[in-house]
């Protein structure tokens, strides 16, 4: 149980944000005790909801003056425990900072506050013929501030890239409330060090982004979606390699395996995928209408050549949504199979996918666990979903061991432990699988540049031993 905040701190925070925007009642704090990764739960000492950069700055100054950790939080949809209120911290939420400040259509830019929902920005840009490209699966609820913190991707980042490609400038609140502007769309991108690029993906450990400028893209004229049904995962994987090998660059390529198909088809989200299929592959092209059918024809030929038993194609929005349904509802459907779900996230070189999937299946058998795979096949970003019951302690132990082995396997073949969910607290102790002590020390030193006292989102991303050696490189100099 966290200790209550000192009365003087409470008074100061209330004065800044108003009585209604400081939450200290235990029953209301329960909402903030975890993010999307519910396996970890810690109730914060308090939650503060500022409304402006100035308020964030003052809130951070008060908390840091009292040596209290700040835990930044967007919508709480993260899947790595990044918003967990560790170190007796106070959550600073951006929910009230939800204004789209400007859509600058003539420069294809938008300026937003961090609490703006990802999909809402695309809606706002739509009348200008523009949209915001990164589309994490939680885009109807996740915030741009959270996307910046996590460097979020999404199904369409195969073609369009992740958040860092789109952020042109940031206003950030750093330690003790210092406000700093970084970058700028109209400036020479190489005139200074890429501090924007360094800040994006820092998981709330460097500071809080309070204003975000992003690039927008023109809405594609047309879209074609293919759904290929395969007898085996290997065949679907070969089709992915074949499509990329002939020079096509789809906007998205997603695979769901048999276990997932069965879960979806047995649920209220049934999408009409054949339940005996080994895998379903979704391939989507977007762009100039005139070239789409030719691209789709070539991709379909690849699927057939690799053994697809059926290939459906859709151009209209409703039909496309139907083909996507089995993919998009996969996580929801798994809820009826097991009470708990661990959504793993790791990336491997695309050509190693078939081998890795076979070995993940073997791990599932060895640990007697049900593992269902849903993943971004085009960029090798796997999401093995381990189904379990957290009340079964033996099973929980097997989940943890299998999970670690999956990550080690991905690293062994040249991949990494997280492609888009971030490290947070969940993968913090697995960081040594991919980074040596020197690299971890350099990361700790980089954090210390922005947060010398270690008061932003402590205990996240870096193994605790590394955090203890923070002053080694950067802070002392």
């Amino acid at each position: 149980m966290s200790s209550p905040l000192p009365a003087a701190v409470v008074r100061s925070l209330r004065e800044i944000v108003g009585r209604g925007h400081l939450i200290t009642e235990p029953d209301r704090l329960v909402v903030y005790e975890s993010d999307g990764l519910t396996a970890y739960r810690v109730p914060p000492r308090a939650v503060v909801l500022p409304a402006s950069t100035e308020e964030v700055s003052r809130v951070v100054a008060v908390l840091h003056a009292a040596n209290i950790a700040v835990i930044p939080r967007g919508a709480g949809t993260g899947l790595s425990g990044g918003a967990l209120a560790t170190a007796e911290g106070v959550v600073v939420g951006t929910a009230r900072m939800n204004a789209i400040l400007e859509i600058d259509a003539s420069n294809r830019l938008a300026r937003v506050q961090p609490g703006v929902i990802n999909a809402r920005l695309t809606e706002a840009a739509k009348p200008h013929g523009l949209y915001y490209a990164p589309d994490p699966s939680s885009q109807s609820t996740c915030t741009l501030g959270g996307n910046v913190a996590e460097n979020s991707g999404g199904p369409h980042c195969l073609k369009y890239g992740v958040t860092s490609r789109y952020v042109t400038s940031l206003t950030v609140v750093l330690a003790h409330g210092r406000v700093v502007s970084l970058g700028g769309a109209g400036a020479d991108p190489n005139a200074s060090l890429d501090l924007v690029g360094l800040f994006v993906g820092s998981e709330g450990c460097f500071g809080i982004a309070t204003e975000i400028e992003v690039r927008l893209l023109p809405i594609a004229e047309g879209v074609r979606t293919l759904l290929g049904i395969f007898d085996t995962m290997e065949a679907a994987g070969r089709a992915v390699t074949s499509i990329m090998g002939i020079g096509l660059l789809p906007a998205a390529m997603e695979i769901v395996d048999n276990a997932t198909i069965r879960a979806v088809e047995a649920s209220v989200f049934a999408a009409g995928y054949p339940i005996d299929a080994g895998a379903a592959l979704i391939v989507e092209f977007d762009g100039t209408e005139a070239g789409l059918d030719a691209d789709a024809d070539r991709a379909e030929a690849c699927c057939v050549q690799e053994g697809a038993s059926a290939v459906q194609r859709a151009a209209e929005a409703d039909h496309r949504a139907a083909l996507w349904k089995g993919r998009k509802k996969a996580f929801g459907a798994m809820g009826r199979i097991a009470p708990d779900l661990l959504v793993q996230d790791a990336t491997v070189p695309r050509t190693r996918l078939p081998e890795v999937l076979v070995r993940i299946a073997e791990l599932g058998e060895r640990y007697d666990l049900k593992i269902a795979n849903v993943f971004h096949a085009g960029d090798g970003n796997l999401h093995p979903n381990i189904l379990f019951d957290r009340l079964d302690l033996d099973e929980l132990d097997r989940v943890e061991r299998a999970s670690k082995e999956i990550m080690a396997l991905c690293v062994e073949v040249g991949g990494t432990i997280t492609g888009e969910h971030g490290v947070g607290i969940d993968k913090r102790d697995y960081m040594p699988l991919v980074h040596g002590p020197e690299e971890l020390a350099a990361m700790a030193a980089a954090k210390a540049v922005f947060d010398p006292d270690g008061l932003f989102n402590p205990d996240k991303v870096l193994p605790l031993r590394t955090q203890g050696t923070e002053p080694a490189a950067g802070a002392e100099a």
Binding site: G186, D188, P218, I219, T288, A294, G414, K427
Partner: protein, 409 residues
Amino acid sequence: MTERVTTSLSDVVPEEALSLPSTDWGRFGPGANVVVCPSNVDEVAATIRWAGATGTRVVPIGTGRHTEGNEPSGDFLLLSTSRMASVQIYEPGDLTLTAEAGLGISALSKVTAENRQWLPFDPVDFPRRSLGGLGAAGQTGPLWTGYGELKNHILGMTVVCGDGRFLKLGGRVVKNVAGFDILRPVVGSRGALAVITSLTVRLFPRPVVDRLLVLEAKSLVDLVGPARAVAMASVLPASIVLVRERNVCQLLVRLHGAAETADADQRTVEAAAGVPFVAVDGGSARVLADSVRDIGGESDLALHAFVLPSRLRELLAIVNDMVDLNVCADVYRGSLRVSCAPEADADEIATRVRHGMERVAEDVVVERLPRGSTHSLGTSRVRSDAVLELERGVKRVFDAGNVLWDGRP
């Protein structure tokens, strides 16, 4: 190269790694104490440690041909990665390549062309750069419009820091958020943070059609309207460039894709601009695009101005009547590069252009000047104390002893 330096360095790197300073190594060549060309990471680290111990600054270079910025004063050596030029991992199916930093872009392109893959960037003199030099410069060229910035496609690096530490940054996969992205500030830092020894880059499939749409006009400002209309159209070209060389003004719109796509995009571009373009395809398109890319590469003057794209007209208006200037504008970014013919008085031109641009532009960067110029290299943008402090902090993470030269203008 003094005998003292040679003798001392011979203790840490083989004789064949040492070379005489000369203009062959670029602008800083003649002033260097020595040029060191290590053949592996250990020799890079040994050289840097030696430099730190002897108070010698290190200027990392690839070939040295594209070195810009301020020359160090005092003792310095050039550390060239030119002998570290092997392809380490190339898996066409993954569309990724890992190579040592000294690999030339033209050599890399030959390797990837066998699989119809390429690195879609076009900074000045692209083929004659090294992969490491490209990463250190962080320059993408106008093709960023269609493909994104270089920094988004450098997936991993190995580097040697100012104290000889060896770091592996990033990885080999296209999506990777395992830890803080300390690779990003190294890209574009021009060697100020670390010596890049290898890189992993994302490759792209070569487009089936490479088409250049060309529109000529009497003056640059006559082309701004069509250029902006194309930039605001519903298609996203690979690049949109406005050029003037030897008083010939052209708008060039590059389209990549399948044949049907290129045809349809051309119709959209022409409808947006309200005029027909001349279309050049294939090898001829590439030759023309390459010649435009390299405008000003040999000039004594290189001046780069940046605005938001909607204000590009104001910037172009400043140079519109200065017909002795060569101009290359990236319409989608809103940047303008100015150079001059070899016979021109570069210093006088800099005087004429610079102040006008500084009134309009968010950033004016003087990247190259003739020797003896009355101007100085540098940027007009004033960075806040807070940003400078953060930059100094990041520098300390990599090079606390300030061994690596920060020559950024």
